[in-house]
Symmetry: C4
Subunit: 271 residues, 4 copies
């Protein structure tokens, strides 16, 4: 009996708007601290931040415990990847890291805490989810682009190594050079340099730019648009158009029943 | 009675095409003056502009008074944000600003007057409104992008500060550097410089470019497309397709009435 | 009678695939000549080109005369803007231009002849038309962008003139500088230079980039997409879906006639 | 009888998931080898790679033979362009290329083998096919862009040759310069240089950028979006909405049969 009351209280706390606002405030505070720490700080501020850091860690710990205990079937809590992420971030924060090496890890954890902003605001979570939904389709486009990059990089390091070994000496460097060309950053320097040795190499560069930048990047846009529209259609169109078709369906059903009524009347007449 | 006649006259003036054209002409003249003032001017021109400036301010004042008085329920006038903006711009123009410091403010006000172009031309107002409609959704994407920027900036000033303090010394400078990288402006210089110290830092830069430029920028495009399409669907599709479904609905209704007529006939027959 | 036969022959020539192919070949030849002339040429080639040029002009003249005379109602010929353009280009080619000054105009006309490629290939003409259809909507976006550019340019030449007069001395130069910033070409040099004097000027540049590049350019994309989709919907959707609705309409009509047949049967029964 | 059993076995092998996984593994191994070869290698590794290369060639040969023999109507095998491509790559690999000149061709073939990745993974093949589907429409846009490029290049080499012969000396170089301007790479250097001689040349550059980058590139995006949506509509909409219309069609058909049943009943009644 007592246990149920505790559960109810926890659910009440979890759903409380003020509780949520307080947690968002703490996350923002933690994010600002991460930013402020990149400046030169007075020893007094460093000590204050050390205390604040522990306070934030404890608040996060309490918050996750509340949310965990407020879940009816407790192991369902970890089925949500965001909850898992939150728990992981908080647990690692709790491990005492003393030596210099570990201090860096501790700072990295503080930085990742900023990501909790996404897990706590539903609209951002939806955005991230729609991004993850697009990932599998995007993944194949990325694979296709990587194949194109790889082939061009292999050709590049085969032919242009002598032109400029800094840009084309092996496949990894060539891949980076091609990525640079795709962003158009100083690509004409590379082009002119290569054309001095191979006058026809413009075909290599322009075909690469066409294939990657124009064609495939646009394909990425296309996928994005289709994902967003799919979502959009799910929201609006289903409410509008298809419902009207459902109405028609209902109306035609009414016709059926009316006609069968007619039929029974005629059959009665017959008798 | 007299008051009503005045009101009618004001409405007549406000809706007059020539009045609107004259105001647009005055706004354009005021915009051109703003532009011409950036050149070296003869003292004579400066004095002419001073007079013209006051003339424009008075014309704007009269125009807003006409539009305000022509509104039946006068406080509704300020419910339109564009009217509020117009009134603000004109009122501030009226304040006499004499000392040098204030002269700058006066010049700024003259510049903002160009924005009246948007408030007077309905098509531009629609465009701006559709942009403001997209803002809330865009806002969340911006928030997500800012979180990504912030985390990368924190990492950047944590690791790369020693590489180039001018680019990575604190989080504000790192954010600007990352914005620069997102625009691809000289980003490879930063990349090569950082890779000399941290050979694996390309992963930092390329993952950042992927996350911000490719994925999220496209998401912005997606939102824009969906907003514009929504608007588009509202205009055309509702007139076309759904009306046809409504037609079907009407026709099926006719069927119902015809069948009920049949039913009454059969019932009559029965008797 | 004889006249009608001539007309028929001209229509026959105009619609002849070989005639069209020959004209396309001549246009391509004329385009190649334009290109070849940019190289150093032997005197013999220059003379050959002079002859070829006249041959091309005469062929174009004959072609337009055929197309003009083959139009049943002759003044309809000039109602098509492309025909007007073709006629203009050919007529100007016919004017003998002897002195040096005029030789340049003659060369320009030769260059514009390449545009005849668009007027002769229907698919390219459709593309151009769809571009012109988008223009009015694009025009308002351009106007909005110009207003934003103008306001930023006015601010730029007001505040940054002392920082770098080469970039911000007057409104025209400032507009060009802002266009450069929009293309991200060396924009960080301008940013760093300005931030040395005005540390808060990053807000000016970043807000400008956001407003122009991100928001409005995407709006252009949105308009393009909507225009292309409109066209697309006109082509496919009307053939597919709405036809199905029409089918339903027809089927429901059939129901009506069947029910009225039933009615007459019942009425007959009654008697 | 024996022959049919062999056929069945081959089909069994071809459809075996492990066989497919093994081939993908071999293709990846071959791709990695292509990459590793761009580094400095020990003689031992070079020899190992020589053996591995032959092994891969033989595995590919066997795989294609399996797939060829498992096709019921064998000449259908070559109707698929991807099969033709695979066969070509493998056959050329088999030709012994000994002299230095030919060694390069051999290396190129090894690089092209990476493309087999696309032919073996169905999702990538679909992506490539959707790209090829877009090509004809894209082709016309490219043609239009080329015409614009050509006209601007002709103007460029006519007027700007004296400004900078390295960039504008003939039409081919001008085309490359214009492509560079379209990518915004150092375009302002060219602009300022040209404006020193022709102060109005900014109109040339800005109109070119507008025409190519903004208008037509967006058109490419539009086409991409429409192709992807078409595909998307084919997949989802046909399953959803039109099926509902089909349902209605079926239901109305039922109404017809019910009414005709009624009719026969009434007719029976009459008798």
């Amino acid at each position: 009996m007592d246990n149920i009351t505790l559960m109810d209280r926890l659910v009440h706390i979890r759903n409380n708007k003020r509780f949520e606002a307080f947690i968002i405030f703490v996350i923002i505070a933690s994010a600002i601290m991460v930013g402020v720490k990149t400046y030169q700080l007075s020893p007094w501020l460093i000590n204050t931040f050390l205390v604040l850091d522990w306070a934030i860690t404890i608040i996060f710990l309490l918050e996750i415990m509340v949310r965990f205990l407020a879940t009816p079937n407790r192991w369902d809590f970890f089925k949500d990847a965001w909850n898992l992420f939150d728990t992981l971030i908080v647990t690692i924060s709790l491990i005492p890291l003393d030596n210099a090496e570990m201090a860096l890890v501790a700072r990295l954890i503080r930085v990742f805490r900023v990501l909790r902003m996404i897990s706590i605001i539903p609209e951002l979570r939806i955005l991230m989810n729609s991004f993850f939904t697009a990932l599998p389709r995007l993944g194949y486009v990325m694979a296709l682009m990587f194949i194109i990059f790889y082939i061009y990089a292999a050709f590049g390091s085969l032919f242009f190594e002598k032109v400029n070994p800094e840009l084309w000496s092996d496949i990894a460097i060539s891949l980076l050079t091609l990525f640079r060309i795709m962003t158009f950053e100083g690509w004409t320097d590379i082009l002119y340099e290569t054309m001095d040795v191979y006058p026809w190499s413009w075909a290599y560069f322009i075909s690469f730019i066409f294939l990657t930048t124009f064609a495939f990047l646009n394909m990425v846009i296309g996928i994005m648009v289709s994902v967003l529209e799919e979502e959009h259609i799910n929201e609006t169109e289903l409410n509008d158009r298809v419902v009207t078709l459902k109405d028609l369906h209902g109306e035609i059903k009414d016709l059926h029943s009316e006609i069968s009524e007619l039929k029974s009347l005629i059959l009665e007449n017959k008798k």
